[in-house]
């Protein structure tokens, strides 16, 4: 007996799960930047480039998910 059926690509669900990690990571980076700036306001310009580098490196993981989803969709 068929109770339920899912059609379409399960890659969407997989990508949703894969985006949790980078989501947390990006959140941690910005929270660290906000904390450091609140404690030491003069350091805000000094740490900003590293915020963007860290953000870009973490975000790349989520973007690999998008790219590979299309590459391996068959």
């Amino acid at each position: 007996m068929l109770l339920a059926e899912v059609v379409g690509s399960t890659a969407a669900i997989g990508y949703g799960l894969a985006a949790i990690g980078p989501g947390i990571g990006v959140g941690v980076i910005f929270s660290a930047y906000i904390q450091s700036t609140a404690r030491q306001p003069e350091s805000s310009r000094l740490t900003l480039p590293y915020v963007w580098i860290g953000f870009a490196v973490v975000e790349a993981l989520a973007l690999f998910g998008i790219a590979f989803g299309f590459i391996w969709q068959g």
Binding site: P49, W52, I53, A56, E59, A60, L63, F70
Partner: protein, 261 residues
């Protein structure tokens, strides 16, 4: 509502095919080498060259408005990226970094300009080529400064106890020489690709809803409002990705130039 043109709504779930516009070669025929994407590349290059040539044709001691703009853009690449990331040694890379920033920014900007509405960077070839240039650059300056053996040792052998090195060296090798160019290009490509895909989903989704049935039709307005909001998000992404690509290139050059840890 039934009179809606169903051309757009017919192909609702947007697919890869939406990224391959038809040939616009004036001599006709299906020529994959001359499409909207090619045209945008030429426009981007021409715009940058003409802008900087015109702005610097007659430089003044007290800059004109155009000269001030060009100087601020170059100054951003020189001071905020090259000097900040690489140090005073980095000024000689400022022309490359500033050019890279301008080029990626203009190419990305096509993603939100009316009538263009797709960035050439959402085709993998463009970011891949840019990443190859940056890859060759940072390896070249590293080898030139330290010599091949010392450069490889600097970038692959971290200061760690000897028994952990068999684990660390392959990781460092993969991270520096294999994953770096790959992640550099995929980051830019996937950002532009996903941005275009998002805008397509919400624009075409609006048409799909309006054509679906009477109850769903009002929700299409919500879909289009989201399209507008996402376009503003795209403005941010366009600028940020140009900056991130340039800063990462600068940071790799800095890593290659740095002395032993």
């Amino acid at each position: 509502m039934n009179g809606q043109p169903s051309i757009l709504a017919a192909e609702f779930p947007p697919s890869i095919q939406d990224f391959f516009p038809a040939s616009i070669a004036p001599w006709g025929g299906d020529n994959p080498w001359f499409t909207k994407i090619t045209l945008m590349l030429w426009i981007a290059v021409a715009l940058i060259i003409i802008f900087f040539l015109v702005a610097y044709r007659n430089p003044q001691m007290v800059p004109t408005k155009r000269q001030w703009m060009a100087e601020s853009i170059y100054g951003f690449g020189r001071n905020a990226i090259a000097k900040e990331m690489i140090g005073s040694e980095g000024v000689r890379f400022a022309p490359y970094l500033a050019t890279l920033f301008c080029f990626i920014f203009v190419m990305n900007l096509f993603a939100i300009l009316p009538f263009f509405q797709i960035s050439p960077n959402s085709h993998f070839a463009y970011p891949a080529m840019l990443a190859v240039i940056s890859y060759v650059l940072f390896n070249y300056v590293g080898i030139k400064k330290h010599g091949l053996v010392k450069y490889l040792k600097n970038s692959m052998v971290p200061p760690a106890p000897w028994y952990i090195l068999p684990l660390l060296v392959p990781i460092e090798f993969a991270s520096t020489f294999l994953i770096r160019p790959f992640s550099l290009s995929v980051r830019l490509f996937a950002n532009m690709f996903a941005g275009h895909m998002l805008l397509l989903v919400f624009t075409l989704g609006g048409f799909a809803l309006i054509n679906a049935n009477g109850l769903l039709a009002p929700i299409s307005v919500l879909s289009w409002v989201l399209t507008v909001a996402l376009t503003f998000l795209e403005v941010l992404v366009v600028l940020l990705q140009a900056y991130v690509f340039t800063v990462l290139t600068a940071s790799y050059v800095q890593g290659a130039l740095a002395d032993e840890h």
